[in-house]
Symmetry: C2
Subunit: 109 residues, 2 copies
Amino acid sequence: MGTTKSYFFSNEINHLSNLFRALGHPARIAIVQHLIDQKTCICNDLVEELGLAQATISQHLKALKDAGIIKGNIEGKSICYCIDENNWAHMEAHFHAFIGQKVQANSCC
Amino acid sequence: MGTTKSYFFSNEINHLSNLFRALGHPARIAIVQHLIDQKTCICNDLVEELGLAQATISQHLKALKDAGIIKGNIEGKSICYCIDENNWAHMEAHFHAFIGQKVQANSCC
DNA sequence: ATTATTCATCGTAATATTGCGATATATAAA
DNA sequence: TTTATATATCGCAATATTACGATGAATAAT
C-alpha cells in the first residue's frame, strides 16, 4: 500500500506523469527558470538564489537530471548545469500533445 | 522539516508547480485523458476503467478538482465530471509560457 | 602537502501522498 | 419506507518527498 501502481498504466502515461511530477515543486521550477534566464551555466549560486540548503538544492538538481530536463558538466571544482535542450524539445512536444488537445465546452454543466 | 517552503517562491511559480503536481500521477493523467476522449461526462466507470478502488479514484478526482482542471455536476445519483474548459485554456497558456521558452543550445557542454 | 571550495550522498526527522476498507450521505428505484 | 446505487470522507498503513546537517570525494589554491 502507499505505492503508485504504475503498472496499471501505459508507458506513455507514466512518462508524461513523471515529467509533470519533476516540475511539480516550486524550487525545481525556480531552478529551471534560472537556468533559462542565465543562458550561461549555473552551478550553486542557486543555494544563495533560492535560500535552501545546499543538500536540498543538490537533491532537486538530481530530480531534474533524472527526468532528463537538465544536464551537468564538470567545470573545475564546480559543476555547470544547463537545460538539456534536446529533451526540452521532446518534453515540449510531449506536453503539447497532451495539453493542446481540444476540450469540449461545457460538456457536463 | 519536510514541508515545501512555498513562501520562498512567487505566486506565479507556486501556481505553476501546483498545476504540474496535479498532473504528476499516472492515474490523474489517465482520468483527464478519459474525460477528453469521452467528451460526454463520466462518473465512476473510472473505477472499472482504471482498476483502482473507488475511494482512491474519488481522491484523485478531488485533487484534479482542487487544481481547477476538472469540474463536477450532480446528475441524479451520480456525479458527472468533465474538463473545466475555462481553466484548461488558462493552464495551456500558463504551461506554454513556461515550456515554450527558448532554450540556448549546448550552453554548458 | 595542506587547506579551501564545490558538490554529492548519507542519515534522519517531518510531512505528504497513495491506496484501501469502512462508513456516511444523498438520490433513485422498489 | 426500504433498498440499491453512486460518491465522498474518515481512518489507517505503506511509501515517497522535502529538508537539513554531517560527511565524503574531487579539484583548486596556497
